[in-house]
Point group: C2
Amino acid sequence: MDIKFVKRDVLKEKPDQKNLGFGKYMTDYMFEIDWIRGEGWVNPRIVPYGPIEMDPAAVVLHYAQETFEGLKAYRTKDGTIQLFRPEMNARRMQRSNERLCMPSLDEETFVEAIKALVNVEKDWVPSEEGTSLYIRPVVFANESALGVHMANEFKFVIMCCPVGAYYPEGINPIKILVEDELVRAVKGGTGFTKCGGNYAASILGQVKAEKMGCTQVLWLDGVERKYVEEVGTMNIMFKIDGEIYTAPIDGTVLPGVTRDSMLQILKEWGYKIHEEHVAIDDIMKAGHEGRLEEVFGTGTAAVISPVGELVYKDDSVTINDFKIGELTQKLYDELTGIQWGKLEDRFGWTQTI
Amino acid sequence: MDIKFVKRDVLKEKPDQKNLGFGKYMTDYMFEIDWIRGEGWVNPRIVPYGPIEMDPAAVVLHYAQETFEGLKAYRTKDGTIQLFRPEMNARRMQRSNERLCMPSLDEETFVEAIKALVNVEKDWVPSEEGTSLYIRPVVFANESALGVHMANEFKFVIMCCPVGAYYPEGINPIKILVEDELVRAVKGGTGFTKCGGNYAASILGQVKAEKMGCTQVLWLDGVERKYVEEVGTMNIMFKIDGEIYTAPIDGTVLPGVTRDSMLQILKEWGYKIHEEHVAIDDIMKAGHEGRLEEVFGTGTAAVISPVGELVYKDDSVTINDFKIGELTQKLYDELTGIQWGKLEDRFGWTQTI
């Protein structure tokens, strides 16, 4: 790919690495490429980060033809920069785009574009403990047309922002509301994709959870309102009687890269893993019987979020005395160890830039 | 509301009224108003229609916080212009926005904004038989922020385009695929709203239907895959043994303004109406037994779309010999008669501008 580079006159000042937050500071540049029906992907370029012009009748603003991805670049102790399994994001975006009738970059081009942008922005990859450069690829239909249809023009953009540790004070258990009214996804829908519509639909559940003193929502299946699926924007795992339970990837749950990585590590460590539909009633029962040893969410942003309490209707269970579990901590240390290059990458997950 | 007006130097040339199509020609102006948390709705203005600047990290491009509406302005024989039940669109957008955690204009302001814009654009309201001015209000989150949250900044825009008769050669029956795999909506989701995500998720079904030689999709419920819900972007009604059946408004089906108007007319005409869940198996059975007299979709764009054939799995039924039904035609004539001011508006549905 021949990427055009448009230099900006003045670079931004880099923010304090101790107060990065999430998504507060966009870097100097972004990658852009356009798709036009009949021509394919055209005009790859790295240009100064800034506003794009959009027609008010652009398809994305009315019919939400849009998908995105999220991954990070990590600075290792020796100063090199590495990506974590970017090919997984490329493939997931392809699956998202198929469902949404949108064009995809091939895997190689997707990864090449990310590497090219991170290479330009390498001074933006922070070095403080727990920090990283968050990378956000997004593709949306920018054709101007009010009829509902498979759009004929798309724009793919990659933007970056340095981010701090998701939980600056270290990973602490959170309290979660099991949502029994609102639904995130159903088979035959878009639950397995990272399309905008899934996230728009989820905000009300999040607001409701916060009103009830909870940090996140645990979604149940949309058909029987019985089986656990995801928590907020993360996958979720349960350790019961020493074994791991998590929802299978069969249409409604996002196939998380962190989820997949955790499962591989857990398998290596000899854990028995059940990728199956688990009823919330069984989880609560295990909790009351003292067999629900650990619960944690997994995702790129937070890596791992221990769950200290589950609230379901009039019932609630506390997990591991609201303290981070031993396995949860061990998984966090293992995965972040590989990501920041402190531990040997025996799975071949990292790619140096 | 004190609406600022920014005049454009040169007005566009008006298109040929005989070849308007749908959404091909945007008018000269658009209405815009912004919402900022803590301030509310600010800066109402009518400005030249044209591109808006958007940050690549705008919430709408990633998380699809967006809803829209659709209605029309009609030119009557004496040259006056009238709207059809715009307060219904105002109220529906409020319900959409509540589900999506978005701010709404109050009903009065919503209608006032539409009237102000149509008044400026009155020369754009076409007079040819079957033509009208399509009006598209849309609201979306334009805050720049990558965290999933209830956004703090929104933009509400109204745009217009003159449109031709939806079916230029007159209303003709269409062939419809009953979709048994993909799902449009489920209880607890966003099916009753006009949010972008619903439409993005529906495109694949439409593509699949077209591949099978059908014009539209008939969606079944997401839980049992058994009950009829909507067709494409319209509501659907069945006349069986002289009585009318249509899905109830209970969470998954869009509360159509045309649907509501048709039901009021049908009630006045003495038809027995069943707003209830009807199984596709019963519809197909009625078809094979010759009791399925008429089937039609209802919506603002096409007003009424007669269905000539239903294809479901390996089965299919033809309705009324693939000819438009007597009641379907009568309903079309009645409703369009009121909309274009040819018939007395005994329901008080129209508002003159």
